[in-house]
């Protein structure tokens, strides 16, 4: 048995070796493939690079040099300082930070509690609740803003951070599904053993289930974190006050006062992209996995 598989493997490697002295056709194919990949990479990078170069230019340079020319001084940080101090970017990062931490934490608690109740209990109305959560995934959020707005103002949350936090926490059904999926792989015997030791349902949830859900929590933190950091319309609609600007809305306001100073707008844009880039470089693997599980489950 093993002998035959080994032989099969030998055969494949042998065949590959026979083929590997490259024929002109396959060499052309390889050339085309790398040309396509390099071209795609250029398309992805060029808009970003031109903004990077612009961010280091002075206002005269911006007016006199082309978008593809490098700045004279790569250490000219003046535009970043202007963006930070006059563009409200500090407020933006602060507000985004607060909203991010609170709403991600809330999403995790709400999602895990819902998943725990739905996976570990059999009770009357369970199928109905599950159906309600499922049906809600079909409603595109942007269509209901017209009516959601009235709910938020009725709750007296208009123009507060609470509005964005509440909306981010309350509308994440994908997170519940990720938790539900993962919880099925945690053996029920653990719950039973704890129950025999006298643990209450809350203790089981808090001490056993929640810690074991760590990988799923990491996934949700990443998906949710990216979504909240990038969200534009909810803060734009519900938090119009300048002091409540998040990074998206603060950056959006750049177009007014800095309309003639594209180098400052570029610096602000870059300030928003840098945290994303750093997070991506460090968390690549988790981001890929998180998005894959978030999209297909």
């Amino acid at each position: 048995m093993t002998l035959t598989t080994k032989r099969a493997v030998d055969q494949t490697t042998a065949r590959r070796r026979i083929r590997s002295p490259r024929s002109p056709a396959s060499r052309l194919g390889t050339l085309l493939k790398y040309t396509a990949l390099v071209f795609a990479s250029l398309c992805a990078i060029v808009p970003i690079v031109s903004i990077v170069m612009l961010a280091f230019k002075t206002n005269e340079e911006y007016r006199d040099t082309g978008p593809l020319d490098a700045p004279g001084n790569w250490f000219n940080l003046e535009n970043f300082a202007t963006a930070f101090t006059q563009g409200g970017m500090i407020t933006g990062f602060l507000n985004t930070g607060i909203i991010l931490v609170v709403s991600v934490t809330g999403t995790i608690l709400i999602g895990t509690m819902a998943a725990y109740a739905l996976d570990r209990f059999r009770f009357r109305g369970r199928v109905l609740v599950l159906g309600l959560f499922l049906l809600a995934t079909l409603v595109p959020a942007v269509t209901t803003q017209v009516a959601t707005f009235q709910v938020i103002s009725a709750l007296d949350l208009f123009n507060t951070r609470g509005a964005a936090i509440l909306l981010f926490m309350g509308t994440d059904i994908i997170a519940i599904y990720i938790f539900l999926q993962f919880m099925q792989s945690i053996p029920v015997s653990l719950d039973e053993a704890a129950m025999l030791d006298g643990a209450s349902r809350w203790t089981i949830y808090w001490r056993i289930i929640l810690p074991l859900l760590k990988p799923a929590i990491a996934t949700v933190v990443i998906i949710k974190g990216i979504a909240v950091y990038n969200e534009f319309y909810i803060p734009f609609l519900y938090m119009p006050s300048r002091d409540l600007g998040v990074i998206s809305t603060s950056l959006f306001r750049f177009t007014g006062p800095f309309g003639a100073q594209w180098e400052v707008i570029a610096a602000g844009t870059l300030l928003v992209i840098i945290p994303t880039l750093v997070a991506f470089l460090f968390l690549q693997r988790f981001i890929y996995n998180g998005l894959t599980s978030g999209a297909t489950k």
């Binding site: 060029v46 082309g66 819902a114 309600l132 409603v139 269509t143 349902r201 177009t255 297909t296």
Partner: protein
């Protein structure tokens, strides 16, 4: 032995540890907060939306005047409202191009490639960038004498249109920006699906003398059929509800107004909450129909599985 182990389906028997987490109400105690959020932030708005859609409410007036189907009639009869759906066609074409490109590059990278992770990262990264940052970046990219004009100029093309100012070009520019932004996600999802195919299948194909096209046609394509179908439906829904890129970049000017921009402007700028709600209901209905069609064409094995086990 079996009598000792208490099934979790049964409520705890011992009154010693019953407390508030012992009885039949326990699951509801865990569900009360999630359900409250779900009802207050999803179901109440949807219900209200249907109600507002048959009134002429302005968003402030304490009285809401019932107008029946008047708003719906207005949507159908006033051509400038329904017309904006034509703008969606640009995004639809963009979305299809996006899927084709994503599939192409995912297939390329599924074969042995030097710097695979580097290419993957570069092609994917735009998806992670903040939408406003992308909008501003492309405002600069498309502006007169901006990055695009400079690139074309260096290639000898000097007679370029106003990419965002000309109403015959603006929607193509905006749709292209959307492709730039979202292609990376499709690409990574396709690549993930392709790479989940066991290596032996390719080896077996090698033994059978299959070339790259055969591998694509008979191994790769079937393995991503499901995710491809899902992405296609999401792309259509996304094209119909295109909002962020045009709203940030042009605000809907020069004929780039989409249905969602028109809806939110009707509600929040022109204070016609009734009419806007009717428009939102129309869009919701269209999206639901598309989703239903998707369920019919691609019966979701996973959902069945879920219904069976959860």
């Amino acid at each position: 032995m079996t009598t000792v182990i208490r099934s979790p389906k049964l409520p705890a028997r011992g009154s010693r540890r019953a407390g508030i987490f012992g009885g039949r109400m326990t699951p509801w105690l865990f569900l009360v907060v999630p359900l409250a959020f779900l009802i207050v932030l999803t179901y109440i708005p949807v219900a209200n939306m249907f109600w507002y859609s048959v009134t002429s409410w302005d968003g402030l007036d304490p009285d809401k005047e019932f107008v029946g189907l008047g708003n719906y009639v207005e949507i159908i009869t006033r051509p400038e409202i329904f017309q904006v759906f034509f703008v969606s066609l640009y995004y639809l074409v963009g979305a299809i191009a996006q899927l084709v490109l994503a599939l192409f590059f995912a297939t390329l990278l599924s074969f042995k490639t030097r710097f695979r992770n580097l290419f993957k990262g570069i092609i994917f990264f735009p998806y992670l960038i903040n939408g406003v940052a992308i909008g501003l970046m492309f405002l600069y990219f498309f502006r007169p004498d901006g990055t695009l004009d400079a690139i074309l100029g260096s290639l000898g093309v000097s007679d370029t249109p106003q990419w965002l100012g000309d109403s015959s070009v603006v929607n193509s520019s905006l749709a292209a920006t959307s492709v730039w932004r979202y292609m990376g996600l499709n690409f990574v999802l396709f690549l993930g699906a392709i790479q989940s195919v066991p290596e032996e299948q390719y080896e077996a194909a090698d033994i059978d003398g299959a070339n790259s096209w055969h591998k694509f046609r008979f191994i790769i394509l079937p393995s991503i059929r499901r995710i491809l179908g899902l992405s296609f439906i999401l792309a259509i829904a996304g094209a119909l509800s295109a909002f962020e890129m045009p709203y940030i970049m042009t605000g809907g000017a020069n004929g780039s107004e989409t249905f969602v921009i028109q809806t939110v402007d009707t509600a929040f700028r022109f204070a016609k909450v009734g009419l806007a709600s009717a428009m939102a209901v129309v869009l919701l209905a269209i999206v639901l129909i598309i989703t239903a069609v998707q369920r019919m064409i691609f019966p979701d094995e996973k959902a069945d599985e879920k219904a069976g086990t959860v």
